[in-house]
Amino acid sequence: MRKVQDHRVRVAAERREEMRNCLLFSAMSLASDKSIHDIDVEEIIAHAQVSRGTFYKYYASVPRLFEDLAAQLSEDISRATETVRIPRDDKSMHLASTARLIMRLLVDVPVLGKLFIQLPWLNQNSSLDAFQTLRRDIEQGIKEGLFEKLPVAIGLNLMIGSMIGGIHTMLLKPPSKGYEDKVVRQALVGLGLDAKAADKISTTPLTNKIALPTTGILGKIAR
């Protein structure tokens, strides 16, 4: 016989998830106006309209909240990226297209972009999902001899660093069209691709955009 599950357990879990999303969303909204280091508990609970006690039931401190937010967003974004079909066989093409799509998404949705450039990505944090595909492409590309033989850390820093810097510039003031393509082109050349191939790969038209999911925290932005 199937075990009878107490509905209260399920409802409570749903409610907790909802509250967590609510706090994450408030943190994200506040981060688009000011530095994440200047945001305190007061502002978050005022924005989320919850009590201080509730906040601390979920998170020990504001930095913990932002860590959770980073992990959640990166997971959601990498899942959203997978829904866009990019040819996988050419590693350099896959790497470049993913990078360009992510940059476009983060610039199109400034709330996301402004938060992303403030996170300490390169501080031991690169295990985050969103960058795992980039890491795999770079590793494979080095193995296949597409890129120079270099430590993966250098390659990954080169690509992610270029992307984050590029997003920062684009959010500050809209630069010339195709700026993100130029950023990716230089990163590819830096990885050791010859200039001609890099030109071609970084300017291949991308038919699709990354669509934001309608559920979870990203769903809240779309609404």
């Binding site: 430590p151 660093g161 510039t169 230089q186």
Partner: protein, 226 residues
């Protein structure tokens, strides 16, 4: 007619600036002795002998204090590196040399490096002299045709990011001896320098490391850890 400002106001401003300087310098002292993450506001208050009210008048919080300390130290170290670099007509060599000297200097003194890495990046902070200088070099390189014809912000980002991440990777773990050369090589490629001369430049022998400034916050930290 010029507005008359009561001297009491200007004095107060000066006093506040002095207090700010003192807190920054005391924070650097604390950071050279223990893990920068474990420093609390209370520790800073005791060390600098200021009240909580005064502290928050000067800084938003610990984060902005460590930001400002990091910026001050970066400016001091940068000025020193810039003065010691031999003038050269090849802009690629100039950029590579400055970056490599910066890396070596800081990797050799992890205490300083750890404070500097607190700098918020990416940034367009005009108080960071190093960014202005990199920008000037990149623009010159593009004009001379040594670098690709790219928006200068891409080049600035490539260089500053290399500097930052290489220092970070190198103080965290032990890396092969040519890690620095390799990163510089990849950086030069990214700027558009051809592979042959990028390889050569990234391996060029460096002159001796410039001495660190005796004065300022860096001087203070160095005396403490000596």
């Amino acid at each position: 007619m010029a507005k008359i400002i009561h001297h009491l106001f200007t004095d107060e401003e000066k006093a506040l600036r002095n207090t700010k300087d003192r807190i920054v310098s005391d924070f650097a002292t604390l950071a050279s002795k223990k893990n920068i993450e474990s420093i609390s506001v209370e520790t800073v208050l005791i060390k600098a002998e200021v009240s909580r009210g005064t502290f928050y008048k000067c800084f938003h919080g610990l984060e902005s204090l460590s930001q400002q300390t990091a910026k001050r130290i970066t400016n001091e170290v940068f000025t020193q590196v810039k003065q010691s670099v031999q003038p050269t007509s090849d802009i690629a060599i100039l950029v590579a040399t400055k970056t490599r000297l910066g890396i070596r200097l800081l990797v050799g003194i992890p205490t300083l490096a750890k404070i500097i890495l607190k700098i918020q990046w990416p940034s367009h902070d005009s108080k960071l002299k190093i960014l202005q200088d990199i920008k000037k070099d990149v623009e010159e390189g593009i004009k001379q045709g040594r670098f690709s014809d790219i928006p200068s912000s891409i080049g600035v980002n490539l260089i500053f990011n290399t500097l930052r991440t290489v220092i970070q990777e190198m103080i965290l773990e032990t890396y092969p001896k040519d890690f620095e050369n390799q990163a510089i090589y990849q950086m030069l490629l990214g700027l558009g320098v051809d592979a042959g001369s990028a390889r050569e430049i990234s391996k060029m022998p460096l002159s001796d490391l410039p001495p660190l400034p005796q004065k300022g916050i860096v001087g203070k930290v160095m005396r403490l850890i000596a």
